[in-house]
């Protein structure tokens, strides 16, 4: 039950001022610039853009600064900001095959066209704290190696397997099928794969990671291989009606993951490999991998598998993946529930009174019985 209450305005005003002061911290320490956050905290920025479902590095940097590094709060700020802008329309689908690749690895094929390029990664590092970064002189440019690029094309691994018929082809709808959009209509069930992928792309990394992990530990039957992970820039094109052609808006960074799973086949379909797909803003491999595993899990029905695990439960997964919604409902518990609680309090008082009365009667009854014997 919600009732209007007054009071607390001054306390709130002062609390906000105090937050601003604490956010800034010691003023003898220089304030963070948005450029510093965008450049040096790239993974935080990627996460906020992904879960905020809005690609704009400077805005994400601002959100992170304003939220004091609370990335869910920052994603919330991004979601709120986007509601203030008009929607121009939909891009033509990005082509990850023409990506300016900065990293591309496959755990299934050693020698593949274009090779394995590691790019910027934490993999193969010892996870030891690097105290050189704490030193004052951090900021000196570290030279990196450069090699003449042989311009070899990097086809997607899944396209290579597809050529042999070993890989299920991508589902292709006829052009007329509308594409579901969660920002236009609220989520409803059953949810098709387009809606599921949109939901996962902006879902909470931690939630998807835990679900993906659960499928590996036996909650659901998957034995996935990282067919390919690639990260780099893709161009975004938008068909401008008034110009009559698709204009290139610029490039965004995305991470794509193709997770390959075995499929034993059925009476209609020969044994083949199936896939889960992950695509997220920025360099966010953990998220892209988790997304592809959960996408694959939720395809159980289409592939004739048994639903036995949480990660396969479409309604459960999609209803709880959005951390903005989740945090809204969990954190609203901080708001005054005085009247609700007063009602509960009265109820518990009454129940306790009844309980004690009953016990007293029982004790008296028992005593009387003993006396009678």
């Amino acid at each position: 039950m919600y009732v209007a209450v007054k009071g607390g305005e001054k306390a709130i005003r002062n609390a906000h001022k105090l937050t601003a002061k604490r956010r800034r911290g010691d003023t003898s320490v220089p304030a963070l610039t948005l450029e510093q956050i965008a450049q040096q905290l790239a993974h935080s920025v990627a996460r906020v853009m992904g879960e905020g479902s809005l690609y704009d590095e400077t805005l994400a940097a601002l959100a992170i600064k304003q939220a004091r590094g609370d990335l869910i709060e920052a994603a919330f700020l991004m979601r709120a900001y986007r509601t203030t802008l008009p929607r121009f329309g939909y891009s033509t689908p990005v082509d990850t095959g023409t990506m300016l690749v900065e990293r591309r690895i496959s755990a299934t094929y050693k020698d593949l066209p274009g090779g394995q390029v590691l790019g910027p990664t934490f993999d193969y590092s010892h996870r030891l704290l690097d105290f050189a970064l704490a030193a004052e002189d951090d900021g000196a440019e570290q030279p990196v190696e450069m090699t003449d690029n042989d311009d070899q094309a990097m086809p997607r691994v899944t396209d290579l397997l597809g050529d042999e018929g070993l890989m299920e082809p991508d589902p292709v709808s006829d052009g007329g099928t509308p594409v579901g959009d969660l920002t236009r209509e609220p989520l409803s069930f059953p949810a098709d794969r387009d809606l599921r992928l949109q939901n996962l792309a902006r879902g909470d990394e931690g939630f998807l990671l835990a679900l993906a992990y659960s499928t590996q530990r036996g909650y659901g039957r998957t034995h996935p291989f990282a067919g390919e992970i690639r990260y780099g820039e893709v161009e975004v094109e938008f068909f401008a009606e008034e110009l009559g052609f698709a204009v290139t808006l610029g490039a965004i960074k995305v991470t794509e993951c193709q997770m390959v799973n075995q499929f034993a086949g059925s009476a209609q379909a020969a044994p083949t490999f199936t896939r889960g797909y992950g695509l997220v803003f920025g360099q966010a491999e953990r998220k892209a991998m988790s997304m592809s595993m959960v996408d694959r899990s939720m395809r159980w029905q289409e592939l004739g598998e048994e639903p036995v695990a949480p990660a396969q439960d479409v309604e459960f997964v999609l209803s709880h993946s959005d951390n903005i919604q989740a945090t809204g409902f969990v954190e609203h518990l901080k708001l005054p529930h005085y009247v609700d609680f007063q009602a509960e309090l009265d109820l518990v008082h009454r129940m306790r009174t009844e309980w004690f009365e009953k016990r007293e009667q029982q004790e008296q009854g028992g005593a009387a019985q003993e006396a009678a014997q």
């Binding site: 690609y55 082509d95 300016l100 052609f245 695509l279």
Partner: protein
């Protein structure tokens, strides 16, 4: 991205031949879109500016980016990007448009004027030589740097031969 670096590492200069097909205009607009607001205004300020009207005020909005299931399959909505657009008309009649990622209204306005000037036969060569070619070359150089830095992290596998003794 430094737009003062005109030399392309590979010596490739983007093809911007003066034809008025939408393909060429698309390339011009894409080059402007890919440049930083500072790079565009740096070029814009050196121009002898014509008078023009705003057909569409610089406006920031959203475009929903789509991906494809599995990379090549049916489309789905990935997430939005901020986009700023603008349309101007020169007093000589040419209409210039700009669309680019981000929220810079100044860049959108400058890019739209440059696009309009590119459509004017009298100023096209100048725009291509002084603005588009250096911007495109700098972009090409930056991409080539990324390619070469990335190529240095390519794995060369070798097989250990196991000896019998």
């Amino acid at each position: 991205m430094s737009e003062t670096t005109v030399e392309d590492r590979t010596g490739k200069i983007p093809d911007v031949s003066p034809k008025n097909s939408s393909g060429d205009r698309k390339k011009i607009m894409a080059t402007l879109a890919a440049a930083t607001p500072e790079a565009v205004s740096g070029k814009y300020e050196n121009l002898a500016l014509p008078s023009f009207d705003l057909v569409r005020q610089p406006e920031t909005g959203l475009v929903m980016v789509r991906g494809r299931m599995g990379g090549t399959g049916s489309p789905f909505n990935l997430g939005e990007v901020t986009v700023t657009r603008c349309v101007v008309r020169l007093e000589t009649g040419e209409t210039g448009s700009a669309y680019s990622l981000g929220r810079s209204k100044k860049k959108a306005l400058h890019s739209a004027v440059i696009d309009a000037l590119w459509q004017r036969p009298e100023t096209r060569a100048l725009i291509e030589k002084d603005i588009i070619a250096p911007l495109a070359a700098a972009q090409q150089t930056a991409k080539e740097t990324v390619r070469q830095e990335t190529a240095a992290t390519k794995v060369d596998f070798f097989t250990m031969v196991r000896g019998d003794n």
